[in-house]
Amino acid sequence: MLNWFSLAWGNLVRRPVRSGLAVSGLAASIAVLVCLWSFGNGYRRALNTELDRMGLQMMLVPLGCPYDAAARVLKGQNLDNSLPASVLEAARNDPAVAVAAPLLLAAVPRPRDGRTDMWVGLDETALDLKPWWKTTSGARWFASEDSVILGCDAAETEMRSAGDRFYSPETGQKLQVSGVLERSGTSDDSLFFVPLSTAQRMFHETNRLTAVAIRLRDPTLVRGASERLQKIPGAQVVTMTEMMGTFLNLVGAVRTLSTSVAAVALLVSVLSVFNTLLATVIERTGELMVMRAIGASRAQVFGLITLEALLLTLAGTGCGLVGALLLGPGLEGVVKRFVPMAPVERLLVPSLQIFSATLVMGVAVGVLSALYPAWRASRLHPAAALKGD
């Protein structure tokens, strides 16, 4: 086996430029393909992780533009209208709903301070949706109706820590700080959280809600639940997958287009390997006939050419993978500038799955492109060599 390997290798390096060009072409297309796969998977994974982190699958918002409303709620911004509290009860009665968490958001502009205080009223179901909530000081839930939990930036700006008093001059509400949240990197960091009933009292929104965040018992129930909840008067449903789907569709379209380009490049590489092997077979016809004459079987000749193709494509695949790893981070920086909601984390994370798939593809390319040249080589007649043709 080692001898056949050495023979195949020797034949390839006998024409280093030709072999090198075939390997380079294949490596370039493999690198592009790996980068595209990794980017696509990384982006999808990051969006899904963000969905999990949000802990909700849909949101009930007041009538109007649903995407604008959902985006405003996610960003912690005020809405122009509100929902009746009865919407919450209706949502909780739906059999598919595991958690329905009411939210009341209120923005209090403080032009003299050059900022806007963002108040969020929650009930304790919010903790089911925000399991990552941790506090740097104090408790992660309200000690009483008149308590407040501060995002870390809000606490830093107001120089508050757990146990301190806090005042809302615009509403006249005196509060006690129950806890200060750890930095999360989200809009939570700059918000003031109070119990829902306190927020409703402070902002004169008795029995009104800005939105209801919903987590389902099973995410696959989203369609049925969405249809039922859509019938609640005065409310409309926005699913998170719809919001994220908009981004994923955009990325998916770009990905399909670039994968097509990569597939064409791969096809050209197959033809290049095919051409290299065919040229080798034609060039070495005499040598192959002598091999047949001194006892090499058709299968052995077929195997030799196939082995050469495999070595060529494996080298190309290996170089392509290395190229993807080395050049990928640079490409990632360029790609991220054009992607909506680009994740902070690295998108090009090599996975064993992608590596294995690429390797299998490399082997397939090798075998496919070797079929005709190997068959042609194996059909050479040994008698022709003995006749001195």
Partner: protein, 226 residues
């Protein structure tokens, strides 16, 4: 097989070179992969909105109005940052406590009438009873207080009224760093509920004067005209 060994001869150098290069590249790739696996970040997304960051340094929110109020004839101001980290010992001696991390530097606003410096404005955030209180302190070139203003606070009405009372704020005017700073004796007194916030303001004002007196001998790290 003899033919095989013959055909190996001319390419054996290239073979060794290619094999060793491939090995090095593969090793580099494995190391790169391993490193990237270990350093993945936990924060996945840029926040959906640019999160309002806290302001570690207290800004000067109304420079034009304050210049008019405290410095008649002022035309412009210039920012200066003084590095005080090398002066912690004299600072501690004058403050009567260890300087905080924020007190390693002092941002001051030097006010000019044309080309003549006519004073300095300093700002500071202090801990009030119900929230942060931001001070704007105007100081004359000889170090006495020209005026004090609370540019931001969120105290309940009765406390806010006591703290913003012109007579109380005026009791700071003319004071120097070496003077007494006892609330109710050296500085005007306030009602019981406003006392803790008032004490924070007195302590903040005195600290600013101490920092300024030490900073005037400290190197300027940068300066900007306004």
């Amino acid at each position: 097989m003899e033919m095989a060994s013959q055909s190996r001869q001319p390419g054996s150098g290239i073979k060794k070179y290619l094999l060793s290069s491939t090995g090095v590249l593969l090793l580099a790739a494995v190391l790169f992969w391993w490193r990237s696996q270990g350093t993945s970040q936990t924060i996945l997304f840029e926040p959906p909105v640019r999160v309002a960051q806290s302001e570690p340094l207290c800004p000067w929110r109304q420079p034009n109005e304050d210049m008019k109020r405290f410095f008649s004839g002022s035309t412009r101001y210039q920012t200066e940052t003084r590095i005080l980290s090398g002066l912690r010992a004299p600072l501690a001696a004058q403050l009567g406590r260890e300087p905080t991390g924020d007190e390693n530097a002092l941002l001051l606003y030097r006010v000019y009438a044309q080309q003549t410096p006519i004073g300095v404005v300093l700002t500071r955030r202090v801990k009030g009873a119900y929230g942060a209180i931001e001070l704007v302190l105007a100081v004359a070139p000889d170090g006495h207080v020209l005026g004090l203003r609370l540019q931001r606070q969120r105290e309940p009405e009765n406390i806010a009224a006591a703290l913003e009372r012109p007579e109380w704020l005026a009791s700071f005017v003319g004071k120097r760093v070496k003077d007494g700073w006892q609330l109710g004796e050296d500085v005007g007194g306030v009602s019981g509920e406003a006392r803790s916030s008032a004490e924070a303001i007195v302590e903040g004002t005195r600290s600013l004067l101490v920092l300024l007196s030490v900073a005037e001998g400290a190197p300027v790290s940068n300066a900007g005209h306004h």
